[in-house]
């Protein structure tokens, strides 16, 4: 690995250690929830990053439709895949928190339900891409679908106020509904999660680009060999 890659990996590692320290040692337990509140640092941070990832998928899909450059489509695809992993993490961490606080692993609360819908929407996005063999058609269809699916993101955010479920509203227009130390911890977790998203997005996009280039070159070589065989045969 190159020096700057080592620097990036080291920074990420340090961020993870500091985040672990802030989440479990520096930040105090909450008055009513106790230590269960620590799940929220992961849960809220990964939820924000998941929404960001799907928002970026929608945006880059549009950029691809306008500019017709493959890199935007590759990035949109990778962002959706990472967003899917983060959403899975949101649902799992939310379930663990729900079991401790609400005494149930799952409830059909509007925020939980719309988040589950988001998970299915992006599962469909990935399956849709995989089911269309023509690369250009798959990219175009996925771009339009990704934009429409992203409508669920503001719905999830507004679901707490629109339908008044039992899901707590931690971040409002007035700010954070928690003490300053918890806000700092949450913000730091968010920065680390976002950094992790950016690093994986960048590496995976490079990989997707290289893999597509490799397939194109193999196709080119296959055609060249076929032409050569034809010439030798005739």
């Amino acid at each position: 690995m190159k020096k700057w890659q080592w620097t990036l990996i080291s920074l990420l590692g340090i961020g993870m250690i500091v985040s672990q320290y802030l989440d479990f040692i520096a930040s105090p337990p909450e008055a009513q929830m106790g230590n269960v509140v620590r799940i929220l640092y992961f849960h809220v941070a990964s939820a924000i990053v998941a929404f960001t990832a799907f928002g970026i998928t929608a945006l880059l899909g549009l950029v691809f439709l306008v500019r017709k450059q493959w890199i935007w489509d590759q990035m949109a695809r990778v962002s959706a895949e990472i967003g899917m992993v983060y959403t899975t993490f949101v649902l799992i961490s939310g379930s663990i928190w729900g079991d401790a606080v609400w005494n149930t692993w799952w409830t059909w609360d509007p925020t939980l339900t719309t988040t589950l819908i988001l998970w299915f929407l992006y599962l469909a996005y990935i399956l849709l891409r995989a089911s269309i063999t023509d690369r250009e058609r798959a990219a175009k269809v996925a771009s339009v679908y990704g934009f429409i699916a992203a409508i669920d993101i503001p719905v999830i955010h507004q679901s707490v106020t629109w339908w008044r479920g039992i899901h707590p509203n931690v971040i409002t227009m007035q700010g954070f509904n928690m003490p300053p130390m918890m806000v700092y911890t949450l913000m730091f977790s968010f920065v680390v999660f976002l950094g992790l998203y950016a690093v994986i997005l960048w590496i995976s996009t490079m990989m997707a680009k290289d893999r597509d280039d490799l397939n194109d070159l193999r196709e080119l070589a296959r055609n060249a060999l076929a032409k050569y065989d034809e010439r030798v045969g005739s």
């Binding site: 690995m1 890659q5 990996i9 990420l12 590692g13 993870m16 250690i17 985040s19 672990q20 989440d23 479990f24 106790g34 230590n35 269960v36 620590r38 799940i39 992961f42 663990i96 401790a100 992790l196 690093v199 994986i200 590496i203 995976s204 490079m206 990989m207 290289d210 893999r211 280039d213 490799l214 070159l217 193999r218 080119l220 070589a221 060249a224």
Partner: protein, 48 residues
């Protein structure tokens, strides 16, 4: 009630796993880049 020790251990396992996943991803990307350069070089040789 959730035990802090288990929660700490679970989070640590997730962080360590994620860290090694990123390192593995970087190495895989490097191998893919080398393979791509090999194929490019091979095609150049065929052209010549």
């Amino acid at each position: 009630m959730i035990m802090l020790g288990y929660l700490f251990a679970a989070a640590a396992v997730v962080w360590v796993g994620t860290f090694f996943y990123v390192v593995a991803l970087l190495q895989r990307q490097r191998r893919l880049r080398l393979e791509l350069e090999d194929v490019k070089r091979m095609l150049e040789e065929i052209k010549e």
